[in-house]
């Protein structure tokens, strides 16, 4: 097991306690080859988070590595400041028009799952609007100089978000996904604003008040995204789940989630192998508190089978042997099965996921992808 891998996994806790900080120190002391860190933090988007841990827990690492992390952190800090200014403008504009607006995914997580927004890198903004207010939303976005258009084809109209809208932020293009439904159509449908089961939660962006999903809806939908076969796994996804649960543990309806969405709890049971959750969070999740002792290769947390491999092949222009692809499709790692589908890590549950859940899910997601585009 690669020591750098373990360090990055341990670092996925945005609010580490003293015990985890000590583990981070010990693990950093075991790393003798830092050369792979830059690529790893870039892919997994944990550079700023690792930098913060390096400073607060005084991790031993070569000066050039620390400088690299510092540069990444400062770049993201600057981007976060610009982005938050833009979000504030967007929120104010929608509020003036009396339109509903909720922040989703990273744009919300940066402010409610991390000690500071710079620790949550993101490349686009996800917002949720009311399906009956789409024309008014388009006018509001256009008035702000954002290039957006309503879905125009049959396929676009059933998709969960509009074609990407583009804003210019300090000379750079910022992609905005205007959602009318929370989740991708290939995933279990969770609806949009009209179908929300719980009241939206308040969210502060600096001094600007806006809204996001309720903590329960947030956890349910964020964990569902992990089963998406073409979503590229990143360790920041783990940090999102850890940070959000730790920050909201006193307000989440854990009894409801544990009873009606046990997959969430099983995912956190797997996350315990990566980083150390707090005692109180483990109590809420009805998990035994334990330090991460048996680590999982980070690569094993990703799905490498079809159709994701086809998608990655196109991105990276790689060739993959059909036999390798077939094997990765029919025999994904048990870690990914537990994380993606929220199964228990017992042999029986993993085999059931491998033989029944996963094949059915491939058929279902493929059929939905073909139908919805």
């Amino acid at each position: 097991m690669n020591n750098l891998d373990i360090l990055c996994q341990l670092a996925t806790h945005p609010f580490p306690g003293k015990a985890l900080q000590e583990q981070l120190r010990q693990q950093a002391g075991l790393v003798d080859d830092w050369s792979g860190l830059r690529a790893m933090v870039e892919h997994h988007r944990i550079g700023p988070l690792l930098y913060r841990h390096a400073r607060s827990a005084e991790l031993e690492m070569p000066d050039d590595v620390l400088s690299m992390l510092a540069s990444v952190y400062m770049q993201r800090k600057s981007l976060a400041r610009s982005r938050d200014g833009f979000i504030t403008t967007l929120v104010d504009a929608f509020a003036q028009q009396g339109l509903d607006l909720l922040l989703l995914k990273g744009s919300a997580l940066a402010h409610n799952a991390y000690p500071e927004p710079a620790l949550r890198p993101m490349d686009d903004l996800d917002i949720l609007i009311h399906p009956d207010q789409q024309h008014a939303a388009l006018e509001t976005l256009t008035a702000l100089g954002i290039k957006a258009r309503l879905p125009s084809t049959a396929r676009e109209r059933v998709w969960h978000h509009w074609p990407a809208a583009i804003a210019q932020l300090n000379g750079q293009a910022l992609s905005i996904e205007v959602h009318v439904r929370i989740l991708n159509r290939r995933l279990p449908d969770y609806g949009g604003i009209k179908e929300m089961r719980r009241q939206p939660a308040p969210l502060m962006i600096g001094k600007t008040a806006t809204k996001t999903l309720s903590p329960e809806d947030f956890l349910i939908t964020q964990t569902q995204r992990l089963r998406h076969h073409t979503e590229i796994f990143k360790l920041i996804n783990i940090a999102d789940l850890v940070g959000f649960a730790e920050a909201h543990q006193d307000v989440v309806d854990w009894r409801y989630l544990n009873n009606h969405h046990p997959g969430i709890r099983y995912r956190y049971a797997l996350i315990q192998s990566l980083t150390q959750l707090s005692d109180s969070l483990c109590d809420h999740l009805e998990l035994k508190q334990k330090a991460p002792e048996s680590h999982i290769r980070t690569r094993a947390l990703s799905y490498h089978g079809w159709p994701q491999n086809n998608y990655l092949k196109k991105l990276k222009k790689e060739r993959i042997h059909p036999a390798t692809l077939a094997w990765q499709t029919i025999a994904p790692s048990s870690a990914w099965l537990a994380l993606g589908y929220g199964t228990r890590q017992s042999p029986g549950s993993i085999w059931r996921a491998r033989l029944i859940t996963h094949p059915l899910e491939i058929v279902k997601q493929t059929a939905l992808a073909l139908y919805y585009g």
Partner: protein, 90 residues
Amino acid sequence: MQFAPATDIEMEELNGELIFFNPATGGSHHLNGTAALIWRLIEQGHSSDEIIDLIAKAYPDADVAADIKTVFEKLLDSGLIYQIPEGSDD
């Protein structure tokens, strides 16, 4: 001459060194030792002459004025400081 730190840059202090990120250029800059000290003195509002005097007192045997002026030029070129026009209240 009076200088002031640029306001739109990010800065972190690491082991006595200063690391800057300039969002306008996307570039990072490292200042160590004396350069970091000079930046700090600028941040505290000292004029160029005061900075030269202070450092000269710390290094009485060295001719520091030319070196310090070189640092000022580099800081200006990097966009980490700007010169305050004379007579300005800034």
